[in-house]
């Protein structure tokens, strides 16, 4: 099984993306998708020596749900700040988020989530990959922002990936 599908997650993603691309839920599209999902990881396997491990697949769904909800909330917050506040009165500042995550996939997911969710954009990673530079649009209490990121997203990602 591991030889036939060296990257099972990648195979599933390629198959799904193919079906969505042709915009057609039919046996033919699915068959071609599965074929591509088998062939592409197999052919490109030498370039992907490691594979991410997802320990709790169900937790991914919960995480996606939370992030989607937060994206909606963050949009409304940012819309409010943009429309009703003067730009130079916003208390914007950088904060440092020390990371407990160690795998590249988990840190990438966290950085992406931070950018998409309330009032924060991830800007840079420390050279050793152990802390994240985050820019907050409006924050009265930077420590609380960091604590929220760590508790809400990082804790869950740690359960999923590590």
């Amino acid at each position: 099984m591991a030889r036939l599908f060296p990257h099972p997650i990648l195979s599933v993603v390629i198959t799904l993306v193919w079906v969505l691309l042709v915009n057609d839920i039919s046996a033919g599209a699915a068959a071609l998708g599965i074929l591509l999902g088998w062939a592409i990881p197999k052919l490109t396997h030498p370039y992907w020596p490691d594979r991410p491990r997802i320990r709790r697949p169900l937790a991914v769904l919960e995480y996606v749900g939370i992030v989607l909800k937060d994206i909606a909330v963050s949009n409304i917050q940012v819309a409010y700040l943009v429309l009703f506040r003067r730009g130079d009165t916003l208390r914007s500042q950088y904060v440092t988020v020390p990371l407990d995550l160690t795998t590249a996939e988990a840190i990438t997911a966290l950085a992406g989530t931070i950018t998409l969710t309330p009032g924060t954009v991830s800007a840079d990673l420390s050279a050793d990959g152990r802390s994240l530079l985050v820019h907050c649009l409006e924050t009265a209490d930077p420590a609380a922002t960091v604590a929220q990121i760590k508790e809400r997203y990082e804790g869950r990602l740690k359960e999923i990936f590590e």
């Binding site: 931070i114 969710t117 954009v121």
Partner: protein, 132 residues
């Protein structure tokens, strides 16, 4: 049918509103890092609403289910943070004043962008000296 059309119209209006706010934020906010917040967030919900409206329209009104909108959403969510981070890194690298307000890493090393830039400068120096 009429209810579906009203729902679709509302979704398009909500989408248009958030896209407008995202663009307004880009134009109105005073510096680059603040400006990044508009396009990375407000537009995701805006595009999301538009795409849901598109899916509903083709499914209910045209009777022809369309799903590749999901793919657009997926790619948008994957690319928006990467773009934002690359812009932020380029800004930190090129703007000396911005470096002053960065917080400490809390680690023995600095931020990746600046450390890499320093390493590059050193290697350039060694290269020029070896050429000379």
């Amino acid at each position: 049918m009429v209810i579906a059309e009203i729902a679709i119209s509302l979704l398009i209006l909500v989408g248009a509103f958030f896209l407008f706010v995202g663009s307004l934020g880009l134009a109105k906010l005073p510096d680059l890092m603040r400006r990044l917040h508009g396009p990375t967030k407000a537009t995701t919900l805006g595009i999301g609403s538009m795409l849901i409206a598109s899916m509903l329209y083709f499914w209910i009104v045209e009777g022809n289910p369309s799903i590749h909108e999901l793919l657009i959403t997926l790619f948008l969510f994957l690319t928006a943070p990467v773009t934002a981070q690359m812009i932020a890194k380029a800004y930190i690298l090129h703007n000396i004043q911005e470096r002053e307000v960065l917080t400490e890493t809390g680690r023995p090393v600095g931020w990746a962008t600046l450390d890499a830039a320093e390493a590059d400068e050193h290697s350039e120096v060694t290269q020029t000296s070896s050429n000379a």
